[in-house]
Symmetry: C2
Subunit: 242 residues, 2 copies
């Protein structure tokens, strides 16, 4: 991940008296904090709802809904593809490869699935949130990272017996101003907010000092939803970008 | 509900070149749409996160997270007190009066509980959302309204046998540009997003054309959270209120 042309365009816009909207992750993973600082320096704004889970509000939560709150924990199921595969394995008690094929046939998983199933996509979103929302300096390659490709039908059967649901969870915990990040396969009980996520849905859970816990779910992966997220950013730019 | 002094202060502020923040419902239930129009006329903004479920984002969702989306349905568990009572009845299979007493002893329910348990509080929030967010002209007294005081321990036992969870739900459905509103006691299955709401938590579910379904839960009733919602509005005022 290098940031590619997106990084060039965002740099260009922000240094030439333009606000900017990003919908892809690359540039933000590599240079998220620098881009935010650049925007501040030039009194412009960088919007990127579409880059971190699109139709599921993530960045917005911190900017608007929880403005002024002290963030203690951020956790989420940020990758629709892995959630779809785990749900399919749970339903059919089948092998990982079989559910992955189904996800690819439906166009949910990419032909090269490593970015999703090995936890890179979740780690990318955690990197962006940590560096842009919390001002950290996390590098994606330093995030402890698990994937889901080692999960077998036997695992699934054992977990179901204990009423545990597997979820690929990305997290940021903040304690004594220290930030801890990770991507891990977690087994959650049936009454956990992540347990009931259908299909390729996503979910974010934020714990704050002042407003307690907030859980947002939805945002099934869909091109229309990503386009709507970019349009939303454009509308907010018109509203707030004086 | 007359709007009382709150209505006087909001009117005064918005007509005298001030933005305004409301944290109580009265004025908005009675004159919500008029106040929004008044703010527009004077190029000022009216903020009221604290007035519709406080720490649970409701108004914010439409203003920011779903900006530009076409809203099809809004539904929610908007009253923490009734949720606490129903959860307590579910847990202990006891009579309504017993759980209400517990809620009063904990300071969750008011000594005069009718506003909450007869559905008026939920109807008030539905009125505010319909009139301010959707531009409707709903009168609180016209909303078909159920409460929870008729629920018995026998009901609870029967519903548990069928794995159904009772929730007091306020809703706004939009079809062919017609708005339908109501407050009803609804029995939801165990995998419904409203089923797992603990204690006095609240939840809102929004269905949109472009971004599908969004479900937000959290925001347990607490004075600190309401104060934080007002401070959040103040921060957003500084950010967006040019």
């Amino acid at each position: 991940m290098t940031g590619g042309k997106g990084l060039f365009y965002l740099n260009y816009a922000l240094t030439h008296r333009m606000h900017a909207i990003a919908v892809s992750k690359g540039a933000l993973v590599v240079e998220g904090k620098k881009l935010i600082n650049l925007a501040h320096q030039h009194n412009k704004k960088l919007f990127f709802s579409g880059a971190t889970a699109a139709a599921l509000p993530t960045v917005d939560l911190f900017e608007y809904n929880l403005a002024g709150c002290q963030i203690l924990e951020i956790e989420g199921v940020f990758t629709g593809t892995t959630n779809f595969i785990l749900n399919d394995m749970l339903q059919h008690e089948c092998a990982f490869a079989e559910s992955l094929e189904k996800a690819q046939a439906k166009g949910i998983a990419e032909p090269n699935s490593s970015f999703d199933v090995d936890g890179w996509d979740t780690a990318a979103k955690i990197t962006i949130l940590a560096n842009t929302v919390l001002g950290a300096e996390v590098k994606i390659q330093d995030i402890p990272r698990q994937g889901i490709s080692h999960v077998t039908a036997d695992h699934i059967r054992d977990w179901k017996k204990e009423n545990l649901i597997p979820r690929l969870v990305g997290f940021i915990h903040i304690k004594n101003q220290q930030i801890q990040t990770g991507v891990e396969l977690r087994l959650v009980p049936a009454n956990h907010p992540f347990a009931h996520l259908q299909g390729s849905n996503k979910c974010i859970r934020v714990l704050t000092q002042e407003m307690g816990e907030l859980v947002v779910s939805g945002g099934a992966s869909a091109p229309l939803a990503t386009a709507a997220a970019a349009l939303k950013d454009f509308e907010l730019m018109l509203k707030t970008g004086c």
